[in-house]
Structure formats: structure tokens, C-alpha cells
């Protein structure tokens, strides 16, 4: 986003909300929308109704959590076990929100507003916000983020309902190819939004840690790989920084 500072200062709150809404036409949002085509297909395969699929999209919103929930429904997992698996996968929402809040909060932003907006935090909205917040005036950031994130969730909720009903039986290959949009999108957008070497190291360490974690702690591999890989990336970046400043 290239905005001159005077232009940014003049824009009203409504203007920022509308600008945020326009963000749903950005590549990350459009790509996520494509991934929801794949999700609608998965819901159909799982045998839930279109109302339940749309309800899940709006209420859970994070795509990995929904895929785990859908897997639990298909497998006939008991409610406590399903909730536990989803809680493990959604644990990453907390550090994401912690990282986002200082960017989002203005002097007058109230906590209830932030609690409401936090529901719409998932990887796409998080990456979008972390990339663009710097060019938004601090007192307009909540409006800008809300305009983008709430619209994105609403549109995809409707989309899941519509696609679910339109799609007869998408061939497995097409569903697979659509589903693979998600990892490629997450990988490239996280690489692009990494502020320094720490973010890139985290991306590679988290991925590299998954196969051993899968073998060491089946069922908890995401958590093990994420926390383990995250620590390794953080410590490596510190060592690199220390060496650079010493040289």
C-alpha cells in the first residue's frame, strides 16, 4: 500500500473500513477464498449439512482448526477429544493475537472491540494485517482491520454455503489440487511477511521439525514441531545476530 502521509491522515474511519473491505480483492484474500472451495468439498465428503458447514466457517474461522474438527466428525471422535485436538491446533492463535494486538491497538481502542476483532484473526487476516498496519494511522487500524477481516469471514461463510450446494461431486483430484493452494499460499505469504531472518528461520525450522515430531509424538506433532522449531529458530537468530554484532 502506497499512501502519502497527508492522504492517510485525511481518510475518515468509514473510509478506512471501506479500504479494508477492498482488501478482500487482494491476492491473499482471493487465494484463501479458493481454498474455501476445497473446504466446501471436504464438508460434503464428511456428510455434514450445508448449514453446519457454513456455521462452522463463521464460528471457528481458522482453516486448520476446521479441517481437524471435520476429521473428528468423520472419525466419530468424542466431543472432549475433538475439542482437545482443536485446542492444540488453535493454540497458535494466542501468540498470533499477542503479536497483532500492539499493532492494532490505538490510544482509544477499547478491549471489547479488540475481543470482537480477535475472532476474525486467522492466518490470512494476520499476514494481511502484519504486512499493512504500518501504513495505517494508529487510531484507524481497528477500523481498517475490521473492514477487511469481518468482510472476509462473512463472504467465505456465504461462499461455503453456496459452493456446497452447487458442487455435485468434485473429482478427488480437483479437490486435492484446490486443497494444495493452501500450503503454497501460507508458505509464500509467511516468507514475504517475515520481518527479519527470525521469521524465515521459523518457517524452515517449523517445517523441518514436523517429520521427526510426527514420529516422536503422533497426535501432538503440530505443537511439538511448532514450539520446538520456533525455539530453535529464535535461538539461531540470536546467535547469528550476536556473531554479526561481534564481527
Amino acid at each position: 500500500m502506497m499512501l502519502s502521509s497527508s492522504e492517510a491522515a485525511e481518510r475518515s474511519t468509514l473510509g478506512w473500513i471501506l479500504l479494508g473491505m477492498k482488501g478482500i480483492a487482494s491476492p491473499p484474500a482471493l487465494i484463501l477464498t479458493t481454498a474455501f472451495f476445497g473446504f466446501a468439498g471436504l464438508c460434503r465428503e464428511a456428510g455434514i449439512s450445508w448449514e453446519e458447514a457454513a456455521f462452522m466457517t463463521g464460528m471457528v474461522w481458522a482453516l486448520p482448526a476446521k479441517i481437524i474438527l471435520l476429521g473428528a466428525i468423520t472419525a466419530g471422535t468424542s466431543l472432549p477429544a475433538a475439542a482437545f485436538a482443536v485446542a492444540l491446533s488453535s493454540l497458535r492463535m494466542m501468540p498470533m493475537v499477542v503479536a497483532l494486538m500492539p499493532e492494532l491497538r490505538g490510544a482509544k481502542t477499547r478491549t471489547p472491540t479488540l475481543l470482537f476483532l480477535s475472532h476474525f484473526v486467522a492466518i490470512t487476516a494476520w499476514v494481511f494485517a502484519m504486512e499493512r498496519m504500518e501504513s495505517v494511522p494508529r487510531d484507524k487500524r481497528a477500523a481498517y482491520f475490521g473492514g477487511f477481516a469481518v468482510t472476509l469471514t462473512a463472504i467465505n461463510t456465504v461462499l461455503v454455503a453456496v459452493v456446497f450446494n452447487l458442487m455435485g461431486q468434485l473429482p478427488a483430484l480437483a479437490t486435492g489440487a484446490l486443497a494444495f493452494l493452501t500450503p503454497v499460499y501460507f508458505f509464500t505469504s509467511l516468507y514475504g511477511s517475515a520481518r527479519d531472518i527470525t521469521g524465515r528461520l521459523a518457517l524452515f525450522c517449523g517445517m523441518a521439525a514436523l517429520p521427526p515430531a510426527h514420529w516422536l509424538s503422533p497426535g501432538y506433532e503440530l505443537l511439538t514441531a511448532g514450539i520446538g522449531g520456533g525455539f530453535v529458530a529464535y535461538l539461531s537468530a540470536r546467535i547469528i545476530a550476536a556473531r554479526r554484532s561481534a564481527a
Partner: protein, 120 residues
């Protein structure tokens, strides 16, 4: 419903199941993030560590989809999935970081494999 699994025998039960097994265990972390963030300085080492772990967790989800997928993705062989991600990243870098270029390159690899698989 007796064993607390998903079923649609009772019309409202699927929604309660989705709320308790999906919404609650996801939003609780978001709310905890909001509540605890006010006590954390964005530039502090703790915030940096939180950001790094968040990124690594998403990276783990990516690796999960590439290395150990379920459903329709599992029908695509591992070398094709890995090659697709690698081609996507290469195209992304070569195109001066256009995510769309990366996506198209990755999908071309899967499409190419599908074409070969159908022909053989």
C-alpha cells in the same frame, strides 16, 4: 449423542458439537491473546519469541499438508506434493515475490502430474 460424538439425530446437537469442539477451543486462545497482549511489549524478546513460535506452528501445518496429508491430498504422491511446493516457492522468488505466480507454478506441477497419470 449418548457417547458425546457427532450425530444429527437431534437437530441442534451438531451445532452444539461445533460450538464446543470448534468455536470454544479456538476463540479461547484469541481472547487470551487479547487479554495478555496488553502486558506484553511488542518489541520485547517475549513478543519476538511468540511471533517466532506462531510462524513455526503455521509452518508445521504446511509441512503436515505436504508430508502427511489426509483425504483428497493424499491421492497426490509425496514427490509431486513436495515438487509442487518447491516449484511454487521458486516461481515466487523469480517473479519478485508474487504469490499468484507461486500458486500457478505449484498448480501446474500438480496438473502436469495428473495429465501424465491419466495418459499412462
Amino acid at each position: 449423542m449418548a457417547d458425546w460424538t457427532y450425530s444429527n439425530v437431534v437437530p441442534w446437537w451438531p451445532y452444539v458439537f461445533i460450538l464446543l469442539a470448534g468455536w470454544l477451543p479456538t476463540d479461547i486462545w484469541r481472547y487470551l491473546g487479547v487479554v495478555s497482549a496488553s502486558r506484553i511489549d511488542e518489541t520485547s524478546e517475549a513478543a519476538k519469541l511468540a511471533r517466532t513460535i506462531a510462524t513455526a506452528l503455521v509452518a508445521a501445518v504446511i509441512a503436515q499438508l505436504v508430508f502427511f496429508p489426509t483425504g483428497a491430498l493424499a491421492d497426490i504422491p509425496l514427490p509431486v506434493r513436495f515438487g509442487s511446493l518447491a516449484a511454487g516457492f521458486a516461481a515466487y522468488q523469480l517473479s519478485r515475490r508474487r504469490i499468484l505466480a507461486g500458486i500457478i507454478a505449484a498448480e501446474l506441477v500438480i496438473g502436469g502430474w495428473a495429465l501424465v497419470a491419466i495418459l499412462i
